[in-house]
Symmetry: C2
Subunit: 396 residues, 2 copies
């Protein structure tokens, strides 16, 4: 921790300690080393190499041309909320009405806005880790505390101990955060565990924040086990999803939250003083995605399936590497014998190996000792990247 006086002296007027002391993203730190080097193969971020499908971009362009350039509904345009509700009902076999849907400017924003509504000083949020890093800051900026409960890596598989999870919750726990399918590990919570966690949250009146942005990137079936399979409309359940991953729309900043309708009404007030609402013409692109985007998802999944095979085979064959075959999402999260500092090794990989991976230490407790590789890329590109990674592993 930087002492407060340093935070004060760096700036012409005081900055909150909690914000001054947020570390920079360690993924960003690695990327900064090679962002401008065209020789580096970047597999550090959570996005593939495909641009947004044309039919989506064209729908947004049509709406822009048609003049949808004014202020709009805080919770999203009604036709998109309705389409998401129908998509949810169909996909999870569990009726969902549009009054439970709130469109947000990214999945990240759905979480940040929910944190504003739920956690304050003295409160805590229990977070299953390893996990992508931003959730921790979103809780801490509100003055609340994060408690991490780590997944176990045993026999080349990740598992969660529910007793440990429940024991971490106390009377000031306001939120339980679970990201499944999980970034970075590829772990997928099973349906029985989900039912048990939801029941726990009902009884304890704790908000269950489920980050399900990788719900559609599964290698068996149409969708990952979801809390939405079990949910009643008035459960303390907030399911965050995003257009980013299934439809290659990371740069659009559009997501949605499924919540009790009263929570959504309250969130509208929070949206008003954070961003007011998402651009209406972009939402028409999202509408096309959700209505006509199933073939693209199939294509995306098959592409990731090929990437997974290729990368996991080569990683698993290396004597220094241990890796779980991810059940979902598009990451290989692997440990390396003899690597104690993942940030240092990831930096070396960029500078000497010309390949960009995310260091495990960026993903909180349980992450050090690992590297994350996003395999949502063309096969030739992955081959070249794997050659370079192996070259650096051999020098370790």
């Amino acid at each position: 921790m930087t002492p407060p006086d340093i935070a004060l002296s760096r700036h012409p007027a005081p900055i909150r300690d909690i914000v001054a002391n947020i570390p920079t993203s360690k993924i960003g730190d690695v990327a900064a080393l090679g962002r401008d080097d065209p020789d580096v193969i970047p597999l550090w971020f959570g996005e593939g190499d495909l641009t947004t499908p044309e039919f989506i971009s064209e729908a947004a362009t049509r709406a822009l041309k048609a003049g949808h350039t004014f202020y709009t509904w805080q919770r999203g345009i009604p036709e998109l909320r309705q389409a998401i509700a129908e998509y949810t009902t169909r996909l999870y076999g569990n009726s969902c009405k549009a009054d439970r849907i709130t469109v947000t400017s990214s999945g990240m924003q759905a979480i940040a806005l929910s944190c504003q509504a739920i956690v304050g000083p003295g409160d805590n949020a229990v977070v299953v880790s390893p996990v992508w890093p931003n959730i921790v800051s979103a809780v801490e900026v509100m003055g609340a505390e994060v408690r991490q409960v780590t997944l176990q890596f045993r026999n080349n598989a990740w598992t969660l101990d529910l007793d440990k999870l429940f024991a971490a919750c106390d009377e000031r726990t306001r939120m339980l955060f679970i990201n499944s399918p999980n970034n970075p590990t590829g772990w997928m919570m099973n349906s029985e565990q989900q039912a048990a966690v939801l029941e726990f949250c009902r009884k304890r009146r704790i908000w269950l924040m489920a980050d399900e942005v990788y719900a559609r990137l599964v290698y068996e079936g149409e969708v990952a086990p979801s809390f939405l399979h079990h949910a009643r409309p008035d459960d303390p359940l907030l399911v965050m999803q995003s257009f980013s991953k299934p439809w290659a729309m990371t740069g659009w900043r559009l997501g949605w939250l499924t919540s009790p309708s009263e929570f959504g009404e309250m969130l509208a007030k929070v949206i008003q003083f954070n961003i007011s609402g998402s651009p209406a013409f972009l939402q028409h692109g999202a509408l096309a995605a959700i209505k006509d985007g199933e073939p693209f998802i199939k294509h995306m999944v098959e592409r990731c399936r090929a990437g997974r095979e290729q990368v996991i085979q080569r990683l698993a064959g290396h004597r220094k590497v241990k890796v779980a075959r991810p059940e979902a999402a598009f990451y290989a999260f692997f440990s390396v014998d003899g690597m104690s500092d993942s940030l240092a090794f990831a930096s070396k990989l960029v500078l000497d190996g010309k390949v960009g991976l995310a260091p495990g230490v960026a993903f909180g407790e349980g992450g050090e000792g690992y590297l994350r590789l996003c395999f949502a890329s063309a096969p030739e590109r992955l081959s070249r990247a794997m050659d370079r990674i192996e070259g650096q592993l051999d020098k370790l």
Copy 2:
């Protein structure tokens, strides 16, 4: 105030009192009465009736087609930051480098993110009012207190008493918020007052948050008096601007903050866990606006000038109305003799008069007794609206 137990019982799990108790927007409450009625002439929101100019939309469309659909820089694409820095240098005659510019997803977001960085429990922000309502919630959600210092309305003009402003600040004041040109009153702070306030903030190490989104909507000269005319790069000054008003881009949600460069670097971390960054392809639209948008601003100002003349003449001629001729922005903010409840009268205007105005009570202390009309509209539309308003005023 709703007692805490009500907030608890309405939801399946606890919501923060501070958020549960945020009132809904009173502008929104009025708009809800007539939003679906095509006969209502809506002049309630802070936007005109022009869609975004084609050259801006086309630039965004080209960038979208070119595949700018990936994650991007937290603080904005470099070419836009550079263009804004040059625009700032030219417009204010005061050198500004790109490292002081941060692109945000709306001016509102620039404020909300800055509040996260600056104010916490025990702190306060001093806000000049009447003011558009969201700033109050953006401060309060962080657990900080808002102190309003009201403008005076005398001899048909608005003025600010600096002694009163400075006296409201104490050792826990972290931010002084001034919106000039002002929404809703049209008041414009003069350059001497700005120099004095900036000097006060330097000495007291208080962040001066200047909302200058109406900087270009002035009826004499090219730009309103600005703190940027006086600023040194390391002043505790945060100037928020937006693409919304000058370029008819309200629905795009794009703005920017000019700050000390270190503050911008810190804000990048806050952006990361709030939204990650603004869509890159939209930023290419903004780039076109700032590079080639001067003729449109001239057109917009002339249109508003005509609207101002028309509306102020008719309002000033009504025996029950008192109104200041706004020096800037696109609002008439007028008091009505015999109207004690602006929300009730604005509701009546919608339901019986078929015209939508914003009730003064929505703008905090000093706002009750007034109505706000946005005159950035076609002259025929304004004529019809004024006929209807006069009809209702006569019945009061």
